[in-house]
Amino acid sequence: MPRVSVEVDGVEYDDDVEPRLLLAHYLRDRLGKVGTPIGCDTSNCGACTVLLSTGRRASGTTSVSVKSCSVLAVQADGKSVTTIEGLSDGQELHPMQQAFHEEHALQCGYCTPGMIMAAIDLLRENPNPSEEEVREGLEGNLCRCTGYQNIVRAVRRAAGDMRSPAEEGVTS
């Protein structure tokens, strides 16, 4: 069995895994990181979205959103994974989490972890998206409860909260 070394939400893990083990199952069944749910088996729904560093470890590399059901655990070897559980330091919510709460952007909450992670990645690429850009940017994440309207509001609210005041001054 291959051995993987992965950092998940700031903690190092070394494990022997089957080559076919999905990252989603590695996170949930092996590491107990059950905050990341699985909603489909064809990488359509996006519920399992996490951030994965493009290079080895998080520092100095970018983290991009991936659907953890379509990444093998071995592909995460040497990399850093951020899940919904690692977003907040336990004291303060991430601005995206706070915005989802404020805007009532969730009901059952099953899509929420993936939606939040995908939205964070969307803002990395486009810090000030229009409504249309948010809708297009989140097309890979399905929600059955909200009709998306409040999700769109939340993402745009978080975008405002996350831009620095100086930046805000320039754009307004």
């Binding site: 059950v34 989802f100 099953y110």
Partner: protein, 800 residues
């Protein structure tokens, strides 16, 4: 100082805290020592006799603990329950959780593997050999009811499960010499509910005691039904619905997988877990809708309705599940909508097919009915060259006519269709859009504009027990709540409702805080566990607030009554002189003589000095059985741009003005409307469970079954009017299904409205670009041959 009222406040939800941080307790998250994983082998064919089963290869696979066939489980697995025998002679076939002799739909379980992990269980399925002798697929309801048709259940001699009829008034007179008769055939396609959380079950057995966790809407009903099916005594079985990721009716069910997991835990003495994959769920979660509607409407030349005839074929699928046969019957009371008419008939045949069983899906019978009548109202308007709103005005119940006894036998307690419509037309800028429509028609714009109207009501808050009894439903429609006043004055609310995304933990706390005058933060709401909440009827049919919320209100009143007596004792005053406001009991006229609920609670806890015969507890229970359904209503208006060259439909404006009575939390109400709209629009434009002629489901994945994404939906404009329900002290009506019920006809009416100049009178759902394009090409020739379908051609000029 009085706090702002909790009821009516847009409280952010309490439950969000765990949902946005990944601390949620989904069923698949549950780990137990020695947990085994379960996987089901499912039939790959729609109809066949099982002639051979060989599981020996699977038993030898590494990590496999046990393999069972239907025959292995036959002595214990029983038959899955149907709790709604709609007629005395309804044909009710046996429904073993794992098929024994015959399979009748693709996805029906045929064997079950138990292994040490989910990968090993899935691997072992491939080592099972089943021999199938093919039998004819039965996929077309209109063929299935003919004499000599191939049968789904050969021993029953028919594919018709039941015929259910309701008649009122003199239909012959209504149709005789009627100036206008409109006849239409509409198809309600099958839908797959697609809650985002796939189903999951965990079961553990310790001695004679069982605990079953399930992603279910109905822990209480499930407990009783599992006890009935398996013979495990009800008091030995605890059912827990932990956090549940949506339901939409699909988890209002007693599934074979739940029964089997219970039996496996019992047989193996080890805890088991089963979690379905999405592709598995698309085949095996019950489907919704599935109707062929034949409708005839007679009207006077001024557009007043004389009578309506409804003739339905309702697709049951292969078996009758928990409330399968009753779902289309709920529509019997809704085809008349908000309109006055003297004659009405409803006939429904439940038809077996070799497809996944159907059952409740958001709206359950009422969306189908509302679609039928709201489409017909537009056809009537077109026939008479009237504005669709005008023809509705001429027929609807006016606000001064409530309470109103409808032709289908219900009493609508309250409503104001005029007010909702006025508000909607203003927000929509109706006249302006009509002018734009006329302009585009005049210009021959390849992108035509259509305006769709839906003025709907629905019956929800299921339901008065006596009404359910008269419909042969197997249970009552009450709901239970209890309020525990802790010694410190903090409050625990226990509800029999079982939330799965609706926000009960917030809204129920608002009700209790408001009634008891305690801070919102001092209330905690508990639900979804039969040991914590022993009595309940669970969550479906937009019933939680209108029934369960009222039970909570009543329980709070009982707490106040008890506390008032204790407060009088403490204040040495007469009970009649004690006033309660803002969480404090005071002597009338002497406000400085007061005791807070907390002080009273502590005194009761101490129990040192109680009034004569006073039981030392303020805790109170209430079980509320409503007198009537609740009847939310509203006016929805949709503007759709329809590209006549590509068939592409773009929803430009959607205005929903809903009247759901008094509102506990406007934020939650708006969210329910948004989500409901998305699902109703999805039926109109995107979703369909497609079967081929051999009975194979071809939409088993989310790549094929098109749940809309953010990019597929418009921004909605929502608003409310507020006509309180007169049948409960909170004045509330249900809201969970309203958006879904209203929106489907609004969208299709808009598309058809856009295409009337092309002779189009219908586009079958989902209105995909291909179907819209076909309708534009073939509309005139194909449709004008239908009886009574001449309206589309003649009405084009009268629309503007």
């Amino acid at each position: 100082m009085t706090a702002a009222p909790e009821i009516g406040s847009a409280r952010r939800r309490t439950e969000d805290a765990r949902l946005i941080t990944g601390r949620t307790n989904w069923t698949d998250n549950i780990q137990l020592p020695g947990l085994l994983h379960v996987a089901f082998l499912r039939s790959p064919v729609s109809h066949a006799r099982i002639t051979g089963v060989d599981v020996s290869g699977a038993r030898e696979r590494p990590g496999v603990v046990a393999v069972f066939t239907g025959a292995d489980l036959a002595d214990e697995q029983g038959s899955l329950p149907c709790a709604w025998p709609v007629t005395e002679d309804m044909v009710l076939p046996d429904h073993p959780p794992v098929a024994v002799n015959e399979v009748r739909y693709v996805g029906e379980p045929v064997a079950v593997v138990v292994a040490r992990d989910r990968y090993a269980a899935a691997d072992a399925l491939e080592a099972i050999d089943i021999d199938y002798e093919p039998l004819p697929a039965v996929t077309d309801m209109e063929e299935a009811i003919k004499e000599g048709a191939d049968l789904v259940h050969s021993d029953k001699g028919t594919n018709t499960s039941y015929e259910w009829i309701y008649e009122a008034g003199d239909l012959d007179a209504a149709f005789r010499d009627a100036p206008v008769v409109i006849e239409r055939r509409y198809v309600q396609q099958r839908l797959i509910p697609t809650a985002m959380e796939p189903r999951a079950v965990v079961c553990s057995a310790v001695g004679d005691d069982y605990t079953l966790w399930s992603s279910t809407q109905i822990p209480h009903i499930l407990r009783l039904m599992l006890a009935t099916v398996t013979g495990i005594p009800e008091h030995r079985l605890r059912v827990i619905a932990p956090d549940v990721g949506g339901g939409f009716g699909s988890k209002l069910q007693v599934y074979g997988e739940e029964v089997v997991c219970l039996l496996l835990a019992k047989r193996l003495g080890r805890p088991v877990k089963w979690t379905e994959s999405r592709s598995e769920g698309n085949m095996a979660v019950h489907h919704g809708r599935g109707q062929i509607q034949r409708l005839s409407l007679a009207a006077d030349s001024d557009g007043r309705i004389r009578g309506l005839k409804v003739d339905l074929l309702a697709d049951m699928g292969a078996y009758l599940m928990l409330v399968t046969p009753g779902i289309p019957i709920l529509g019997a009371f809704m085809f008349n909508g908000i309109y006055k008419m003297d004659a009405y008939s409803f006939k429904c045949a439940g038809v077996f097919t070799t497809k996944t069983p159907t059952d409740a899906y958001r709206g359950a019978g009422r969306p189908e009915a509302t679609y039928g009548i709201e489409r017909m109202m537009d056809e009537l308007a077109a026939e008479l060259s009237l504005d669709p709103l005008e023809v509705r005005r001429r027929n609807w119940i006016t606000h001064d006519e409530f309470p109103y006894d409808t032709v289908s036998g219900l009493t609508y307690d309250s409503g104001n269709y005029e007010a909702a419509t006025d508000k909607a037309t203003e927000l929509f800028e109706y006249d302006k859009l009509r002018a734009e429509q006329a302009d585009r028609r005049d210009r021959g714009d390849p992108v035509q504009l259509g305006i769709g109207v839906s003025t709907f009501t629905e019956m929800c808050g299921l339901a008065p027990s006596r009404v359910l009894g008269s419909l042969s439903y197997g249970a009552g429609g009450w709901e239970h709540a209890s309020v525990r006043v802790l010694p410190s004055g903090k409050i625990e609310v226990v509800t029999g409702s079982s939330a799965h995304g609706q926000g009960h933990e917030t809204a129920w706390a608002q009700i209790a805080a408001d009634r008891l005058g305690v801070p919102f933060e001092d209330v905690r709401v508990l639900h979804g566990d039969t040991s914590i909440s022993p009595r309940g009827m669970d969550t479906y049919g937009s019933r939680s607030l209108a029934v369960g919320g009222v039970a909570l209100y009543n329980a709070c009143e009982k707490v106040i009554d008890k506390a008032r007596r204790m407060a009088a004792h403490l204040l040495e005053a007469d009970e009649q002189d004690i006033e309660f406001a803002g969480g404090s009991f005071s002597v009338r006229g002497v406000p400085e003589q007061a005791r807070t609920l907390q002080e009273v609670s502590l005194a009761v806890f101490g129990a040192h000095d109680l009034p004569e015969g006073f039981e030392p507890s303020l805790d109170s229970d209430a079980t509320h059985d409503p007198d009537n359904f609740s009847f939310p209503h509203g006016t929805h208006l949709c503007a759709a741009e329809v590209d006549t060259e590509t068939g592409f439909v773009k929803l430009r404006t959607y205005v929903a003005v809903d009247d759901v009575g008094s509102v506990v939390n406007p934020l939650i109400v708006e969210g329910q409307v948004h989500g409901g709209l998305a699902q109703g629009i999805a039926q109109a434009l995107y979703e369909e469970a497609v079967y081929d002629a051999e009975g194979n489901l071809t939409t088993t994945t989310m790549a094929d079954y098109l749940v809309p994404s953010a990019g597929d939906l418009p921004t909605f404009t929502t608003d409310r009017t507020e006509t309180p329900a007169t049948t409960n002290p909170l004045g509330v009506k249900g809201v969970g299904e309203a958006g879904t019920i209203a929106s489907t006809p609004a969208v299709v009416n808009a598309i058809v409205d856009a295409l009337r100049p092309y002779g189009v009178t219908d586009v079958p759902m989902p209105c995909t670009p291909e179907r819209v394009w076909q309708a534009v090409r073939g509309g005139t020739a194909e449709r004008s041959t239908q009886p009574g379908a001449g309206g589309g051609l003649g009405s084009a000029g009268g629309e503007a």
